[in-house]
Symmetry: C2
Subunit: 501 residues, 2 copies
């Protein structure tokens, strides 16, 4: 892995002087194009052994490019707001928007490598982590990002010499701390762990670039040229960056599917409803005040046909909670800042802290429902979304969040009835739009999309609950009961899920 | 203050049953209008004594309105990200955008009142705090927000009875904690502190509404009607919400002003420049690693004529720092999310944590420069901006941030020369646009705007440094020296500024 980076690469002063101005001018031009025309984000990871010139390289990039459109993200100890959310949350919030370059000094690789060296992560867990990282980076690349991962290498002797040189110079001495020398002792362990990590995550879409760190001029020139080359190629490449990552969908042969199999005639008497509602609301209000819940969070995802009663169900849930504990997130068209980020970014930013509840009225499944049916995204985009969404929910689950997803289904006849009723109601919020009527015409396409969605994203960690919603009372009680039962089993299952933080 | 709220207001069950459905329907309609047409945010503060029904009232509002477009902000102990920024930062980040309603359960009043009761805030400091709050709320109202401040009151006996009643009911018993009973003991102190605070902050633009909390039906109906009434009035009011809060500007009588008084011929020899640059960069790199700096933050604000050399100066500063420590914020047109918030919101979100540096390439002064000259905002808007900006900078300063502001001035002739040079340069980033040429024609208007800006916003806590920038070397060294000197004096002046957190 590191052989080519121990050859003693050096660049003569004169060569550097000749190359540098050309490289700078070209980098500035490319960066300008990126900002003006290239609608993609650039993610540069700067990692490697201590003393290999990571900080210096970042400074050189700032010197050579327009620093106003660079940002450097450093990750020291996570803040409490970060610790109370899944591991990847802090990296999601730091992603550069389209047209910008984000330099990650330390990244999603830092903790796994450190933990492995300290023996706090066994090989199986490490590999699992690397698998997740590969999937995360694949998502970034599919979303259009240019991902450049640099690893600066020094031979063991080289590191000792660099540290000594840095320590001698009064202007750089501060960089060498006790930790730097301590790390020299763990050099072999780092090489082993890093070698393994680099091999596991050396993917075609985001390969590692190992650079010898000994000679400043060689290192700067190499990094500069690689960044320039990658930027220029990507700017010139007008092809669609997407490729399908999911196999084609199974054909439909008969009329039996998860939706047609539902018994929509189920209903509850008014009296039974009142008793049941009170019972489950009472239970829910106790569960969200359970001492164990302070270490967990609850994410409720609501999808369903138009007029299926999502709003009414949500109100029956919130009635059992304190308004200070939950947020309802109505999902509409993304904002400008959200459009400049990967698809899932706008949902990541709404992830609750521990002890809190986020209720999504429509969700990240928009991609495989409305966006698929209306053609708002390419087939490749919604095909890969199934995997990305499963990864997203897995990440939440792993961190201790309880993810509960509802699809509210009503019959075509019931929907028509509700639309007509709404047209008569005086409250403006029940205004029926042209769009609602148009959506009805696409019922069949939506039907297939829902079936595919359930098949592909109902996982053991975040299963779908399909709700027969022709009768509102039945639906509301089923939803409340499901939430209580899932919460109960999750809160009792303390051993397996307590956050390791 | 509280007399009318001790009269024993009650609403009969029948009256309530009759009024409620009408009120709900009207509230839903008004909320719908707010979202669709009324482009203003609604800020509702819910405060008052313990047991007076604050939580219940919030729940009623959620029941009566569309909960998807309400959000409730609760403020318990601040997170570390909040503690490392000025006091008001957490409230700024929680402000609802235009068209939405944000309910503040606890607010900027909570800490001052609590601290006053605990004797941790003397009367003078409390009054100063109230003055700042009044100015903050005036800003919100001027920015178009509807601010409704509710105070729920209970007579001393009433509070005891409410707590007992809550404790008896198994579904509400959890709400009564030891703290609740403890607070009953400090009832008189709370009344005194709250009475004073309410009187001080009972402004015409954001008056307090004191509501008797004893009877649930009375309280709910009162709050509901007040919210409805305020919403309807504000939705119907098509007038411009702005009014000038600054006196008219002084007329210009002669040709002497802060800009014409500058000696633009000042320059530095190349040799002197190299030595001075190295000296001040070295000093700066030490200062930002000073142990005291970990408790402070640095905010650099750059304004100046086009082509005055802001970018080059910023690069000379960042060269002395670690890229992980600073962010450069190039200020361009606001995004959609930023446009839905008060003007200063987009700068508040960029305020650095302690130990960090934010460098603004163009700043919040855009309002009194380009927006004033180009007519992008009303006269009333930019007139009140001087005061709002001074308050903003004072808030930063009070919290320990070091705010340094530079205006880079070049002569008309020098600007013309630089424009022509840039047109010849091949780097795309130096492209001169039509707009740059157009701006030159408005030189006189900009000149007046800059002079007014300096006169009105050069305060002892955040003074302007005017930089003679015809000679780039001279300008860069002056800027670096100013930063070092300000930093040095601020870091030595430990006693007066250490963060009280």
């Amino acid at each position: 892995m590191f052989e080519s980076a121990e050859l003693g690469h050096r660049i003569a002063k004169e060569t550097f002087r000749e190359e540098e101005p050309k490289l700078r001018a070209a980098l500035l031009d490319a960066q300008f194009d990126l900002r003006e025309n290239g609608k993609f984000p650039v993610v540069i990871l700067i990692s490697g052994v201590d003393g290999s010139g990571k900080g210096e390289t970042i400074n050189v990039l700032y010197e050579w490019m327009d620093p106003r459109f660079l940002s450097t993200l450093a990750f020291s100890a996570p803040s409490d707001e970060e610790r109370e959310r899944p591991y990847m949350w802090r990296y999601w919030r730091a992603l550069p928007p389209k047209g910008r370059i984000g330099i990650f000094a330390g990244s999603w690789y830092s903790d796994p490598i450190r933990d492995r060296i300290l023996g706090q992560l066994d090989k199986g867990d490490l590999d699992q982590r690397m698998d997740q990282i590969n999937r995360f980076e694949a998502m970034l690349v599919n979303e259009g990002a240019l991902v450049l991962k640099f690893w600066f290498h020094l031979a063991k002797d080289g590191q000792r010499q660099r540290l000594k040189a840095l320590e001698k110079n009064p202007r750089t001495a501060w960089r060498v701390t006790k930790t730097s020398w301590a790390r020299l002792k763990t050099y072999d362990k780092l090489q082993e762990a890093a070698g393994h990590v680099l091999r596991m995550t050396n993917t075609p879409w985001a390969p590692w670039i190992v650079v010898e760190g000994t000679d400043d001029r060689y290192r700067s020139l190499t990094v500069g040229k690689i960044v320039l080359d990658a930027l220029q190629k990507r700017l010139a490449d007008q092809r669609d960056q997407n490729f399908p990552v999911a196999p084609p969908l199974a054909p439909k042969i008969d009329f039996l599917d998860v939706l047609t199999a539902l018994d929509l005639t189920q209903k509850l008497d008014k009296n039974v409803y009142e008793t049941q509602l009170a019972k489950w609301q009472g239970r829910l209000s106790e569960l969200v005040r359970h001492p164990e819940f302070c270490k967990r969070s609850l994410i409720l995802a609501f999808e369903g046909s138009d007029a299926a009663g999502k709003g009414g169900s949500i109100r029956r849930i919130t009635a059992a909670m304190d308004a200070r504990q939950y947020q309802i997130i109505p999902v509409a068209a993304p904002t400008e800042e959200e459009r400049a980020q990967p698809y899932l970014w706008r949902f990541w930013r709404q992830i609750p802290r521990v002890g809190r509840v986020s209720i999504f009225d429509r969700t990240w499944y928009g991609r495989v429902l409305v966006e698929r049916v209306e053609g708002f995204c390419s087939e490749a985009d919604w095909l890969r979304a199934y995997t990305e969404i499963n990864d997203f929910e897995h990440e939440l689950h792993k961190d201790g969040a309880i993810v509960i997803k509802f699809w509210l289904q009503i019959s075509d006849k019931e929907q028509l009835k509700r639309f007509k009723e709404r047209e008569k109601i005086e409250f403006k919020r029940f205004k029926i739009t042209e769009e609602d009527w148009r959506n009805r015409e696409k019922a069949e396409a939506y039907h297939s999309a829902v079936c595919d969605m359930v098949d592909r994203t109902s996982t053991s960690t975040a299963p779908w609950t399909l709700v027969e919603a022709n009768d509102k009372s039945f639906a509301r009680v089923k939803i409340l009961r499901t939430i209580c039962e899932r919460l109960e089993s999750a809160l009792n299952d303390v051993k397996s899920k307590v956050k390791g933080k």
